[in-house]
Symmetry: C2
Subunit: 568 residues, 2 copies
């Protein structure tokens, strides 16, 4: 029996785009077959996209997905790849006492048809996952024969659990375990993932081929980083993160040693987070049908970093940066904003807010926080007006530290369809900016972020001489408490035991609790009162599959249309 | 053996308010015991409030809830009610292969201690429910002995399923089934609920005592309507909907006939929906610590109805109604707004938007939809400024029809912390207004809504002569399609088969799909990119239990504080 040449195609699928996703499969299989691969594996729910959420609950979509699998199998055979075994993810349907329910299914295609199916057993329902809401769990295991090799199938969460399919496959004498995944990026998660893969390789006595989705989808960043692991737990092949890739590798029969192949080196932690942010932003823009973005440029570090991320995602010429100075804006802020825009080649505009603020206050005099919020809201209205008039996606530039403590104005600087650094603490924002500038220097380019934006004390400039540290602890101390309170869910006593300063704990918890309450009070569209028929359906933003027939209108409205809720 | 006198206490609990909820129990038991009751049952998760969502995942909160149960049991005994059996809902903890996990628990208290526990078996994870995310399911059944009567326990969803505890109790020779519930209102759901209760009464050969939570909690309206059903399926006692109540009834031993007691009559469908809206609004205002609301009064039917609901919830003197006329506002609109405010005794203000809009357009000329949205955003900024300056909760006045088709401006008329009629179709808005006016007439009061607000053609008045039907089908036809498409999730072909006009289907589906996409693009705070450590935690808005120690700051910030995200 020959070695089995496999190919792991880490694809950037789009939820709901059955035709586009099928094309990704056809292209990957053509490339893999040209390289001699006999088994090609693609990510979890390849055809439907992932996370599919409540879209899976539409019977019409499930029917279409079923048809798409059959069409894909035939198309693969017609393209001359009928002898290659292709593992793709899709939506299944199973019968339960409550009627038909969707499953998270992997199918093997060969000879123009489906030769095997496997329904995901463990349905994650925590953190960003809500799979128990959507899917019925599978009840069996599946072992494929590919050119005499025994190949076991798992889907994502199945790998993270010792019970269920992994336990049941222990005596299956596998030559290979293929795991198809839609595993979102979290810092440090790759180590956990590898530890689980090593456990499974040891338990099943077989190498593990792990293929992961890549790219931004809605509010998730799928990280790629597909890999092949030998029985001893060594990574013998690995795809890079955050970019589509085809990883081809030879797997010998049971007991044979795997040779080391192409292994992408790990990224520096700051580079990894930076690239994750760009991948998420890039996917969100593209999959929603936009070609350009608009954001406010204050001269500060947050908006500078977001602008550079946007330029890296779609090119600086597609970034509209708007300086919106008030009487409290310093000259260096205005200079830094213009400097940044010039460095990245952005479309730079200046829209002072003084005239509008004065007119508003003549009719409704305000002071204190209400007056500060007004400035932010006039700026938000300018950005949304440009978005409405010119079709850009509005980006919000808030970071995790300021959002956590409520240092942000709802309907003001919080406006926007996507917030690229919403999950990045302020101290990390500086680190990412520094990494990006150093990276440019390493390549002989001009650092995109002006040095003074990185070094000056942060300020919202909503009243004379204001700086963030008037009302907040130093960011390193603030962020340390936030990591433990917001990130690790530690309570007050546990925070004190972890050695944080008592006064900082008390202040941060009070600010976070208040901000969380207020943030939940003023959500998106305001809260629904579930009277007539239930809550809003939870459909993916970037879904390309809707009920609208016939086909001309199934794609999202293109970017020439105003990108927000509006008066028609 | 004597008849068993039971009391069903449909309480209006608040999520996280362990002390307040325990007081509700003590008060209910005192009243029930004074009436001779031997068994008192309160709603699902009485002590913690429901839906508790991710708050249950905080270990510190679980510990506090455990302590609160023991304290409550002792307090009941010390108050002289140790011989009464009291069934309350709370959070349990169970051990799973993945560590300790919360359960949705009912406990029976007697003699100063917990004498029985039951963990909910069926965890609803659909629609507004996400219980599989939070809880581990119970695995056993529980039968209590109360003065010689055999009492079986169920929690909410358990009643809706034939498998699990209902099947397992079939041979338990019960004298009574007690079901504790946190069952949200949906129109027509009471019939479904009764049908399930009848099936269970027949299966178990015992009367069913069903006690339900009442009042608004976050985005849910719990409807109350607790009842006692005899074995033959007749409702022999019933509490009214939407108000706390104590329903006392005698249950004989197995086989004895139940006498008919107090049975609240059913409400007219329009009255029921109206009262549900008021209950939800009232709970949201009170549990979030507000005392007043602010909303825009356009003279149209939507804002008129919301203002009257607010007046019914908290008194007209606590309603700030703001007329914000533009050049396109008709005189009759301004007159109708003033008339309405006067009828309900609201604090009426006039804030014209022309000066601000003109100043804005001098710096950034706009036309078309962008100019229309600008007017809505200036109005939204006025409402939020008043909210910031004076501490009112901002109400959004949009209805389900216009939100479904995107006839709304994000950050404009969509601003607000609560949208009382967001789930009411436009044709129903008119019906509710008519019912409310007729109801006033029936009581010899002045109808609160001016006749002309009900009868005139609806218009957003964002350009000269604009009316809704310039761009939308007549509301009766629009709403019929929305009920089937949004409400019942029917696809295109099923809508056509249901007899809707093909052109209306095509238009409505295109509008809804686009609006849904846009609404999901511009959510609350903008979308999170899950890079560093996960998505926002999902905590209830009105939770009174946070980590902030010591106790002074555990209640929500009072209404004198600005009720939105803000610059501190």
């Amino acid at each position: 029996m020959l070695d089995l040449r496999i190919a792991l195609a880490q694809a950037d699928t789009c939820v709901g785009d059955l035709e586009g996703n099928a094309r990704l499969v056809l292209d990957a299989v053509a490339a893999a077959a040209a390289d001699g691969a006999r088994l090609v594996a693609l990510p979890e729910m390849t055809l439907t996209g992932y996370p599919v959420e409540d879209l899976a609950l539409r019977a019409a979509f499930r029917d279409d997905a079923g048809t798409a699998v059959d069409v894909l199998a035939r198309d693969l055979a017609e393209a001359g790849h009928g002898d290659v075994t292709v593992i793709v993810g899709t939506l299944g349907t199973t019968t339960t006492p409550d009627g038909p329910r969707p499953t998270n299914r992997a199918v093997a295609l060969r000879d123009g048809r489906v030769v095997a199916t496997y329904d995901k057993r463990h349905l994650p329902t925590y953190g960003v996952f809500d799979e128990a809401r959507i899917f019925a769990a599978g009840t069996t295991t599946t072992v494929l024969d590919v050119d005499g090799h025994r190949v076991g199938l798992l889907v994502c969460e199945d790998l993270w659990r010792a019970d269920g399919p992994v336990a049941e496959l222990a005596d299956a004498h596998l030559d290979l375990v293929v795991v198809v995944n839609g595993s979102p990026y979290e810092e440090g998660k790759d180590l956990e993932r590898l530890a689980h893969a090593r456990r499974v390789a040891a338990t099943l006595g077989a190498p593990v081929a792990y293929v992961n989705q890549v790219g931004g989808q809605d509010d998730l960043v799928l990280e790629g980083g597909s890999f092949v692991l030998d029985v001893a737990g060594e990574v013998v092949a690995r795809s890079p993160q955050f970019t589509p890739d085809l990883l081809v590798h030879d797997v010998p029969t049971r007991g044979g040693a795997l040779r080391r192949g192409r292994v992408a080196p790990p990224l520096h932690p700051d580079e990894e987070v930076y690239r994750a942010c760009v991948a998420g932003l890039s996917g969100y823009i593209r999959k929603n049908g936009f070609r350009s973005v608009v954001l406010g440029l204050s001269g500060g570090i947050d908006s500078a970093l977001v602008a550079v991320m946007a330029a890296d995602a779609i090119g600086g010429e597609n970034v509209v940066g708007v300086s919106m100075p008030s009487a409290y804006s310093s000259q260096h802020s205005k200079d830094d904003a213009a400097d940044l825009a010039q460095r990245i080649g952005a479309d730079y505009r200046v829209q002072p807010i003084g005239g509008t603020v004065d007119a508003f206050m003549r009719d409704l005099p305000l002071d204190g926080v209400a007056a500060e919020n007004l400035q932010a809201r006039v700026r938000g209205t300018i950005l949304m007006s440009l978005s409405n008039a010119e079709g850009h996606l509005t980006l919000a530039t808030g970071n995790k530290s300021e959002l956590a403590v409520g240092y942000s104005t709802i309907y003001g600087d919080a406006v926007g369809g996507y917030a690229p650094i919403k999950d990045v603490l302020k101290s990390r924002v500086w680190a990412l900016a520094r990494w990006r500038d150093d990276h440019a220097l390493d390549h002989g380019e001009i650092p995109p972020i002006p040095e003074s934006s990185i070094t000056k004390p942060p300020s919202a400039e909503l009243r004379p001489g204001q700086v963030d540290q008037d009302s907040l602890p130093p960011y390193d101390r603030l962020d340390a408490v936030l990591e433990d309170y917001v990130g690790r869910n530690l309570g007050h006593d546990a925070l004190a035991a972890a050695g944080h300063d008592p006064a900082t704990i008390a202040l941060v918890l009070r600010l976070v609790d208040r901000a969380e309450w207020k943030r939940r009070q003023y959500p998106p569209g305001p809260k629904i009162s579930a009277v007539a028929f239930g809550r809003d359906r939870r459909l993916p933003v970037t879904s390309r599959r809707r009920e609208t027939p016939p086909t001309p209108d199934v794609a999202p409205t293109p970017s020439t249309t105003t990108p927000n809720l509006e008066q028609p």
